[in-house]
Symmetry: C2
Amino acid sequence: MILRYDFGHPYDTGALVEQLPVSDGPVPHFTVSRKDAQVSFSVPLGEEDMIFGLGQAVRGLNKRGHRYRAWNSDDFSHTEDKASLYGSHNLLLFTGRDGVWGAYFDDPGAVTFDLGYTRSDEAVITSENGDLSVYIIEGDSLTDLVKQFRRVIGKPYLPPKWGMGYIQSRWGYVTADDLREVVRGHREKHIPLDTVSMDIDYMDDFRDFTWDAKKFPDLKAFTDELRADHIRVMPIMDAGVKLHPGDSTFDAGMEKGYFCKKADGETFVGAVWPGKAVFPDFLREEVRQWFGDCYRPMLEAGVEAIWNDMNEPAIFYSVEGLQAAYDKADSLRGGNIGVYDYFDLKDAFTGMSNSMADYRRFYHIIGGKPVNHEKVHNLYGAMMTKATAQGMKAVRPGKRPLLFSRSSFIGAHRDGGIWQGDNFAWWSHILLNLKELASLNMVGFLFNGADLGGFGANTTEDLVLRWLQLGVFTPIMRNHAAMGTRDQEVYRFRNWETMRDVLGVRYALLLYLYSELVKAAETDGMMFRPLAFDYADDEVACRTEDQLMLGDAAMIAPVYEQNARGRHVYLPEDMLLVRFRSAEDYDLVPMEKGHHWVTLQMSEFPLFIRRGHVIPMAKAAEYVAGVDASRLTLLGWIESDTAITLYDDDGESDTIDLAAGLTEITVTVKDGQATAEAEGKTLDATRIVIG
Amino acid sequence: MILRYDFGHPYDTGALVEQLPVSDGPVPHFTVSRKDAQVSFSVPLGEEDMIFGLGQAVRGLNKRGHRYRAWNSDDFSHTEDKASLYGSHNLLLFTGRDGVWGAYFDDPGAVTFDLGYTRSDEAVITSENGDLSVYIIEGDSLTDLVKQFRRVIGKPYLPPKWGMGYIQSRWGYVTADDLREVVRGHREKHIPLDTVSMDIDYMDDFRDFTWDAKKFPDLKAFTDELRADHIRVMPIMDAGVKLHPGDSTFDAGMEKGYFCKKADGETFVGAVWPGKAVFPDFLREEVRQWFGDCYRPMLEAGVEAIWNDMNEPAIFYSVEGLQAAYDKADSLRGGNIGVYDYFDLKDAFTGMSNSMADYRRFYHIIGGKPVNHEKVHNLYGAMMTKATAQGMKAVRPGKRPLLFSRSSFIGAHRDGGIWQGDNFAWWSHILLNLKELASLNMVGFLFNGADLGGFGANTTEDLVLRWLQLGVFTPIMRNHAAMGTRDQEVYRFRNWETMRDVLGVRYALLLYLYSELVKAAETDGMMFRPLAFDYADDEVACRTEDQLMLGDAAMIAPVYEQNARGRHVYLPEDMLLVRFRSAEDYDLVPMEKGHHWVTLQMSEFPLFIRRGHVIPMAKAAEYVAGVDASRLTLLGWIESDTAITLYDDDGESDTIDLAAGLTEITVTVKDGQATAEAEGKTLDATRIVIG
């Protein structure tokens, strides 16, 4: 059951697809208090209560013990103290001795989540603007709460099947030849690859929708050439449009009045990659329509994939902010700059980025009226994604586009995926990757993943390898890095063969992963779940932060510590360890419920299959279309007959018929031997452990 | 055996107390190569080789897989990508299938340690200046390598016993009344405390050696007042002296020519807390003598403890650097600042801190000749510590001062301790604290510890609690935080009683901790050791990164994950778990060698005692002098008679007579009961588990 309570004048954020009636009376669970415009919702926390949710955020699966702030932010340093990342996903799930319940704060402005931070025995959620709908979710399990919530926010975006192939990206691929080299590097060594992705360098002077003709003389011919090799091209698109009279996007947007304006009616100017830029008012349907249409030429030239970036929106500085920094510098010029002035001076130049002052300078038009950006900030990226999705679907009707975004809000999960933003080549970010995977599943962003190998800072060979071993399971599997950092394409490493074998496992498991993704999307389920969701009565499972359930049958537990040769794993029930070295070479080790030390050499990584379940595996392939779905090996540890239902389809139609796509694989045990059958598939059941 | 090889013209860094003869012939293990002034030492790494060492540094106990740089740096953000922290401790210990060996690079300039970073199968150490002595250490175990190395670098500094008491500090304690409030906060609630410590605010306008008379009207009376309550006062001292004609330190230093000069003979001016400042040339004995004497007035007014800070030296900016930033800003004024200019502009103001350009601007006088700071940078903090130690010993001859520093170099371990610098209120920094504890033991800095609760960013109650539970065991036990962050004094928290009980365990174990510290110092041993040092044949132990051996009898394994209620622990042999809730309330759980999940509620923390060993525990006390050494409870799990040797002394004399201070406690087992005896002590052996 979900109850809605309104405060102030809620904006229609588009998060929900179902209009719920507004309830009267007091909000359950919370004590509501008001201070100026703010509305706060507080609830006492029992010693053992846990809180899940918040989607993209630092720290644990259990979010208790920190103060978060919903405020979409371009902040690449995802350290523990950060309150905000790129997206705002205001769902909380409470679980404790008194049962479970959830709350969704549908507010496009800033919301603070003080979850046992100020007082360890209290959670206080504060809407800074006080205009919001609060949805209280009652249910009988964490899974049930998510299912109910997901039903009202609508089914998630699904990528084309090839979008789950391996993507190689880099800020620094400039020309068609750069991309050709990347393709060749993979293909020559038979390293799987489906997509090559480019950052801003392909553009002409960082102008949206331009392709520098010197870098890409014939885009259509180029995409054809790569497609023949089963490779797609995925360019970036930024939110800010260069202030550049003569640029067709700029000119058209200015003429139509589609860019955000200041209170005085002048177009707001903030700087991003190209320097001075203007910002489409994506909150208007006609602007989204227009911006979406701007993709058409490149889509018609064969581009089938887009990633949207800088859409929090990131603003390096505004004209006014830069002037203020200069004024501060001028005021200090020539004097003895002591510590406080020194900090002020530094802050003037570093703090001018993504400043609240700038976010208050411009307006959107909503219902014909200007609304200050601050009130609806967290919708901006979501609405850009919506624009792009529309534009892509218009060019290829009936087909799923490959699309992901940096900034997001619940609702955008219906239009595209998100990647986890500009992380670092830190071991700790493998674990953060894992945690966000599950938290983003709760809020509908099933199609997500992190920059494997790390975006910022120099990576190392072992970090890339261990991170790929997690990436095998993440829906988006992209290796991406920042300009100026060490090259991290797989084929460049000494141990590229080990990495190739890891990627092979991805393709061998792709049918299972795709099936679990689609089933989760279509049934309001979670492909990845904290153990707390499946084993609510198991205290150790409930507080396990470095393992996740994957689909119905499996559990993952990556190695995320440098120089480790194994890790501790907690099995909440009997499971079969599959210790992968490649899609052909792996150990099968039945393990009993409990604590285990699992030895994992650098080339090894684990998948755990619940006892009584089986998982199908194909042969490794070099691209998704090359995966042979008709010949499957089954892995598992069973005592008696079992079955698994596998979903598959053409991989691109945008209408999903779940029932039509399901195939049941039945496994029969007789005389200590398993045999399996399913229509249209050759099945090898010899890797099933009986016992 | 230690062999010395010289390259170029090595400086006398003072790291060694023993002059070793220079060897001829090729350096064992390494291939030596030269490029311009640089000298590089490379060695292949086997797949399973590990590398310990480097003292204060990020990442693992096993340093393999990163590129470190010896370059003392004021950098508060100790993230995984950092190459440098505050101290340079150029010792590497290699261990692998071909045995163990070590290398010490005695070079006061920049040294790069590429430890399997550029190539995963090779370590390359590069001296940027090429003037150094390399010491190759051959031995039969990691412990043996350390013992040999420590013998040639001389015995570590030891604090007075009260220096191991709890220290409460904060950047933000301004007046005597602020400190009185802190003392009262602890004493009223019977929370242990020995020292209150102040950051820069006590000074008059951040001028070294001044005490603002408005804040501290009568320092002598104040230190007397606190000492009557068994509390010492510990002020900070910064390396930079304010450029302030009329200030006695500045005037005297200028008159004597004691500040570092530029090539043109002018005094180098760099800004720190007070703005423009000058830098004593601590590399000169007469300057150290003078600076050390400057402490005399405050020491005579009853100050018995000093911490030295900002002595890398940190330089916020130089006159020249600031001008360059302004020039950059001016050059961009009015134009369209695109992304690269934007980054340049930001970097101009952020990058002017601690810049290489500034470090090259000034000189030291060594042997009567000017030497560019860059060549000897890493000695600066060490020499400030030496100056302070001399000054403190001159005022209280025969007594050990309490002294620790931020910046350091090997050699300074004989003069003072170091704290681990400006960490963050991050859970990951509990683990970093643990790792540095052991790595610093290798290089002689036995007296060390981290800012408990975290220096930067806002802490939480649970983080303070869990961190204190590790702090119980660290030689320096200081709670310290930055201005502007949340208050974190124990008495302010809701669960202060739990924290008080944790501190009680510190005082109850203090006799054991003090004994282990002194024994390690006097016998070239390590109070804290990676498990790899004690269990070289145990592959899991060798790669254990989150547990340490403590003294001869024990092992620690802190909880460092938020919201955890336990942790995985690997026991390399049978051990007794002591699950502490307080010095009076704890469980004793015998556990067999192997992997264990140990339940640890928020109020609980573990100490593991090796089977066959016992550890003495006193009653909790509110200050070190209140610990009753004559009444001890013994904890342990033994089958048969055993003994432990405990060192004790008056806690302050600077000559240690190890043999004279040792008391043997013998434990006899008869009829399943233990009895214990030792001269002058009442012993309770009923907490010894027999079996």
